[in-house]
Symmetry: C2
Subunit: 217 residues, 2 copies
DNA sequence: TTAGAATTGACAAAAAAATAACAAAATGTT
DNA sequence: AACATTTTGTTATTTTTTTGTCAATTCTAA
């Protein structure tokens, strides 16, 4: 079981890891101790080849003739995803989406602690969401000076997000989870993950219409 | 300017369309009348080749020596995405995420009308979110009998989502936008678009750690 | 009006990703 | 203990996606 750190691992592989992690978690709940790539592939609806190839980017976690030990593989993928490490996060924009995210408990279970919420609206400042205080955006700098922040979760309107992102990166925050429909213009030393919900819905609409029209003919 | 309906268009292309649409919308706001694939590629951070190839899946919208007419291209992509058509949607699960989505105005602008919200919790039934009534999940069948529904937006806990998805598909709803972390087991005649937010956050965490560790060495 | 510049659409090439194939190793059965 | 079966890790092949190239066309400026 050796690690392979030589070659750059493609983002396509990385994006599948959380899905493996979820399925393995389910197997543990079902008290299943071992699994072959073939059976997992049937459950997940992908090819066994892909599973083996993906996992082998990080090391040989399986055993010939046996398959994979579920718990061990779960732990290994957890380690790769850094479930054991903790990230300190803030939410900027205490609106609808900011509230929903602040109230979600599961991020903490995955290692992401929300330590503060920021908003420009004075009516929101001073309130508390899920035991997390809402501060004024102008207090961000002093907050970050006192407490290290890894990730800023941006749930402000699209028209404000570039200005907010600039502030955030100027303070040395290196990770941004962007919920606004606006693409961010930032340097390459910042890691940005976008959640473009409207895009996702429009793709669903396209696929749905395609399916309905296709079956019509 | 002819359409090309012969070859199946890849999902990778489809997923870029909303992004083109957004950028073109911005150009219109900036009162820019024409754009070359080269300039657009610089703004978007992708290759000009890809833009031309993507657009040519649907027809030749540009003109040699001139580029693309922004407004015309915007309209064409809008047509491809079906912005002119309307979808009738329901939200199931009036919790944090259901509330956030119900309160978002922009889905309507894109052609997605939320016509009802459903929940199993009697305390939520009878309330109104953003002028949309919350019904009991048991009333879903009679609701769908009276009013056609294209898309169900599922914001129930992962442990409940498969049972809810079964109900929904049994009633003939063909599109599902799934916000739960659970993958749905459904027939191939249902179109499912997943929004796995935790997965997205974990990918951000991975990339961030990779970047930080990389720059350390 | 004409020459040179710009730019597309189509096709070719390259790169990346997914799938298949298979030798090697371990399992499990008789 | 022998041997057929299972299953991995790895390499090869195929498919898909992205990028590069260029003739043909249109624009534009003089
Ligand atoms: N709610 C949804 O379901 C949904 C869906 C898709 C996309 N989005 C996107 O997510 C973002 C947030 O959406 P929302 O529905 O929560 O909006 P919202 O209006 O409810 O909340 C936005 C919040 O940001 C705050 N804000 C504005 N400017 C700020 C600034 N400069 N600094 C700090 N705070 C500031 C506002 O005071 C407000 O509280 C938007 O970009 C929206 O397009 C939301
Ligand atoms: N809130 C977030 O930021 C967030 C982030 C990531 C993922 N999610 C996922 O989105 C989903 C919703 O999250 P949430 O935070 O809104 O949860 P929530 O608990 O606030 O809301 C869930 C709602 O679903 C209702 N419900 C439960 N069973 C039902 C059933 N059988 N039929 C109809 N309604 C039912 C509940 O009464 C509740 O109102 C979950 O699957 C969660 O994992 C949420």
């Amino acid at each position: 079981m050796r690690k392979k750190e030589e070659k750059k691992i493609s983002i396509a592989v990385i994006r599948r890891l959380p899905r493996y992690f979820r399925y393995l978690s389910d197997l543990i709940k079902l008290d299943i101790k071992r699994i072959s790539s073939k059976e997992l592939s049937q459950r997940m609806g992908i090819t066994a080849s892909q599973i083996r190839q993906d996992l082998n980017c990080f090391g040989g976690f399986g055993q010939q003739g046996y398959g994979y030990n579920v718990e061990l593989l779960y732990d290994e993928i957890g380690k790769i995803l850094g479930i054991d490490k903790r990230f300190s996060c803030i939410i900027i924009g205490a609106g609808n989406m900011g509230n929903a995210l602040a109230n979600y408990q599961n991020f903490r279970n995955r290692g992401y602690d929300i330590v503060g919420i920021f908003d420009a609206d004075p009516r929101k400042v001073g309130t508390v969401i899920n035991d997390i205080k809402v501060y004024h955006i102008d207090d961000l700098e002093s907050f970050v000076a006192k407490q290290h922040v890894d990730i800023a979760i941006l749930t402000v309107p699209g028209s404000r997000v570039n200005e907010v992102a600039s502030k955030v990166t100027a303070l040395g925050i290196k990770g941004i989870w962007n919920f606004s429909p606006t693409d961010l213009k930032l340097g390459s030393d910042i890691v940005v993950e976008n959640v473009h919900l409207s895009d996702s819905l429009m793709v669903l609409g396209y696929r749905l219409r395609e399916k309905l029209n296709g079956s019509e003919q």
